[in-house]
């Protein structure tokens, strides 16, 4: 998981996370640990969190 996440952070400029569902907590924890949280916006009732590489 760490390797896949770091690879995506290296490959993409920004990662936008829309946390919803059963996997929300695990994904947010992994993103917070491996990336830099930029900010979050509300869109259509959804929360969109933006991350970039550290």
């Amino acid at each position: 998981m760490q390797a896949a996440l770091q690879q995506d952070f290296a490959q993409y400029h920004s990662l936008y996370l829309v946390p919803q569902g059963a996997l929300t907590d695990q994904v947010i924890a992994a993103m917070d640990q491996n990336g830099k949280f930029i900010g979050q916006q509300d869109a259509g009732g959804f929360v969109v969190r933006e991350y970039q590489a550290k």
């Binding site: 998981m1 995506d8 400029h13 996370l17 829309v18 996997l23 695990q26 869109a43 009732g45 959804f46």
Partner: protein, 179 residues
């Protein structure tokens, strides 16, 4: 007017139809019923009623006779009323279903289109979007799966172990990441 002010064009049109259609049906039904009813002018033309001399009075004889045409009209009137009631009940029922759908389902449904528009506005081809909800591939979010509303799928890779990614023109949608 409120719908138009809130730029809900479809709701405005639907409400307008709900107002116009029953009115037209009621008007048409009542107009047809009156058409088949015997009016006093019919009796004047047929000679049953004498309107001469400034007064209108009925001849004592003969009594008003009902011909075959009148009988068929008499049978049509209840039929028209029944059809009108059935149509009105149908319209009211459909209106109830539409209101139920709007207030108990649509209002609580997630606004995938709003999310879709926002993501398409802020993301570039070098970004990835992670949506952990399985609905992103389901019927609740057709914008992300099959339609060409905003995101147009260019290719879709098969599921790699437990990670599923879909490449669109501008973003990479990843629904089950890093698990």
């Amino acid at each position: 007017m409120i719908y138009l002010w809130r730029r809900q064009r479809q709701a405005a049109i639907f409400s307008l139809v709900l107002l116009i259609v029953p009115t037209v049906v009621i008007y048409a039904g009542s107009d047809s019923a009156c058409y088949f009813q015997t009016t006093i002018s019919d009796h004047v033309e047929s000679g049953d009623i004498d309107s001469g001399g400034g007064g209108v009075y009925l001849h004592p004889l003969p009594p008003l006779s009902v011909n075959e045409e009148g009988e068929s009209r008499g049978r049509l009137i209840p039929l028209i009323k029944i059809v009108g009631v059935v149509v009105l009940v149908g319209i009211v029922g459909l209106s109830g279903l539409a209101l139920d759908e709007y207030y108990y389902h649509y209002q609580k449904a997630a606004d995938w289109r709003g999310l879709n528009a926002y993501l398409h506005r802020v993301t570039t081809a070098n970004d990835m979007v992670i949506i952990t909800a399985a609905d992103a591939y389901g019927t609740a979010a057709t914008e992300f799966s099959t339609t060409t509303l905003v995101l147009r799928k260019s290719w879709c890779c098969p599921i790699q172990t437990t990670i599923c990614k879909r490449r669109y023109n501008r973003i990479l949608l990843n629904t089950i990441p890093y698990i």
